[in-house]
Amino acid sequence: MKKTIGAILAFLSFICAPVVGYGQDVKIGIIYPLTGSSAQIGKDAVAAVNTALDIINNKHDIPGMPLAENEGLSGLNGAKVSIVVGDHTGKPDVGVSETEKMLNDGVHAMYGAYFSSVVAAASTVTERAGIPFVNGDSASPKLTSRGLKYFFRVGPHDGMFTQLMFEFIQDFNKKNNANLNTLGILHEDTLWGSDSGSTQNKMAKEQGLKVIEKISYKASTTTLTSEVQRLKLKDPDVLLPSQYTADAFLFLNTAQELDYNPKLLIAQNAGYVDPTFISTLGDKAEGVISRSPFNTDLAKTIPMIGTINEIFKKHSGGRDLSDVPARAFTGFMALAVAINNAGSTDPEKIREALVNLDIPGEALIVPYRGVKFGPDGQNEAVRGVLMQVQNGKYCTVYPYELAACDLVYPMPTWDQK
């Protein structure tokens, strides 16, 4: 009896231990999916954050990149930034658990988390605690319409991405006197794909375009033959897929098998801009267009991107930068710049610094015009580009003022590839 009481008391005292104190350095909590279906994306994002950390904490000669030349944050007398990494496994309650733990460990801000549902739940926790939550890579428009004061999104949301695609279609119609007006939407059924698909559906109606086929399929599906057959039957002018890597491969392989040749394919990045997309599919990838906030080919014109990519490869086990890690990097740097500007780890001062943040576009590796948050916490200076795979490389084709190549229309057929 005494033993059991003793054991219980010991157990309770262990779990009710006081919070460990923290030092001068800046501590930021990072949550990403590190297991489950999006684990590779999560790992890349963490590698991107580590890249940013490397740049901030060490001396690097990267002209144009803020916080690179000094060790640590000059605004806080050289204080180093450290991160605590947690795996939210894609579930909002786990995200809440990780966030609570990190808040209790004394983080000064939270960053993450790719899954919009997790971001929503975790940012509720930080809002209640008065700690800023910065997000670089979650696309659900709802995140910035909740009236939160401590939530800031550096990257674009689905509406903005899709807006770009539709602007392109309208511009294309005007420029070439064409009449593209039927759309096919193919999306996987997780939160990301579904949000993307429904945003596209809604916007299409607003723009007067007809969606003649909208297919949602179970993510990581075993086969896509019925889907391809239906699309081939309906033959929309423009196909808008939202797919992750494995499904993108399967789709293109099946399209080749069944000889389905869409005239125009504009993908919502993800699988279509995976670092191994072109190398794996080879010729089959020709003509595919994807929107992206990032493109490693830009490294030729913007040397900063090349340098950052090299550092990223060290942290990611050899993988190149791609869409999500580029956005994650940018978001984290924006947070670091804000903390630097605040000159303090006080959450209110950090929040104020974020509200007043104004980073010019030249300091970024993504083609945003800058980082400047609106009253709802959304960065209003975002911009994306559309790239097309031509001759085995991605080439920017839209907006026309940033384009490096002319659009190839219609997409080459399977026999031509």
Binding site: G90, S97, A121
Partner: protein
């Protein structure tokens, strides 16, 4: 024969073990006083998750432990509860308390609709059927725009705490007490069930359906009753979860993992025993939380490797569940059979 009968008659209705009662009483008191010890919100969250999973495991225990039908899709009632309250609140502003009752009602109906055709199936066939139905619900809800499709329902954050709207933003303590209350009530109900005629009949159905039938126990009706009861215990947990996290989507609340976790907890704790789910929860939830927190940040899934190993080890070395560490009668009784 007569000896055994007189022995059985002499057995007390419940084992009046004073030590156990004091232990239980003091634990309950401690749990009620816990928030006053200035426990930080992470630990409150951990306890809330423990309470929630305990109730969910008890719910599964009713159908699997008491009546012997293995359901691999129990998570669907969790999802229904979650969506019931959230939908009523976000669309019509109806208080979640009524939503909870609505969720229980809908779960009960669905349990009857599933139970009537499916409960005649044996073991594995029933398990697969429940699995498919649960996945089916997940697929349908991901495509159903009325309830938000795959983005689900996001409950608006209210400016002030509200018992009516079951939302508390300044502190977790009210959530803690609500979950604790549901936990204790469910535990009491399960204990009453196990002592009641219904409970005994259910166990008869589990142990030997043919013998039960010969005693005029309508096996199929009782199986359905067990299924409905377990569904109605599960649903409120989904509802409370929705009010706690404020974000629900099909991938979270209709996830097959919920069904699996509930199975794991109950089996590893000890099936058919009201303490089993509790023991399983108290051991497994902290293990999975702490392995993830301390080992999960690397992206190498080390925490899950450990979790899988622990599961296999428990199955190999303690096939009667962890309860066998405590309850010698359970083992003895089983060996005598």
């Amino acid at each position: 024969m007569l000896d055994k009968l007189s022995l059985a008659k002499k057995e007390p209705v419940w084992k009046n073990n004073n030590k156990v009662l004091y232990f239980l009483g003091s634990t309950v008191l401690l749990l009620f006083c816990l928030p006053f010890f200035n426990v930080n919100s992470f630990y409150l969250h951990l306890f809330i998750m423990i309470f929630m999973h305990s109730v969910m495991a008890q719910s599964w225990n009713v159908i699997a432990g008491f009546s012997g039908q293995i359901s691999l899709g129990h998570g669907l009632f969790f999802g229904i509860g979650a969506y019931a309250t959230s939908f009523l609140f976000t669309e019509y502003g109806i208080t979640p308390w009524i939503g909870i009752i609505f969720g229980m009602f809908v779960s009960g109906i669905i349990a009857i609709l599933i139970g009537i055709p499916m409960l005649r199936l044996h073991g594995h066939y029933f398990a697969i059927a429940t699995l498919l139905i649960a996945i089916g619900f997940s697929l349908v809800f991901r495509r159903w725009d009325l309830v938000g499709a795959a983005s689900g329902l996001w409950i608006p954050i209210l400016p002030t705490d509200s018992w009516v709207a079951l939302q508390f933003n300044s502190s977790k303590v009210p959530y803690y007490y609500i979950f604790l209350t549901f936990f204790l009530v469910t535990f009491l109900l399960s204990w009453l069930l196990s002592r009641s005629k219904l409970g005994y009949r259910l166990r008869a159905v589990r142990d030997d359906p043919q013998a039960a039938l010969s005693l005029c126990i309508n096996v199929s009706n009782y199986k359905i009753i067990a299924y409905v009861i377990s569904a109605m215990i599960m649903a409120p947990m989904g509802s409370l979860f929705a009010q706690y996290i404020l974000v629900i989507d099909p991938a979270t609340v209709f996830n097959i993992e919920i069904s699996i976790v509930v199975l794991l907890i109950t089996v590893l704790g000890g099936v058919g025993n009201i303490w089993g789910p509790l023991l399983g929860t108290v051991i497994l939830i902290p293990i999975s939380e702490y392995t993830r927190i301390y080992l999960g940040g690397t992206g190498g899934a080390v925490d899950l490797i450990l979790y899988g190993l622990i599961l296999m080890l428990i199955c190999v070395f303690r096939p009667n569940g962890l309860i066998s560490f405590f309850n010698r009668d359970v083992i003895d009784r089983k060996q005598k059979r």
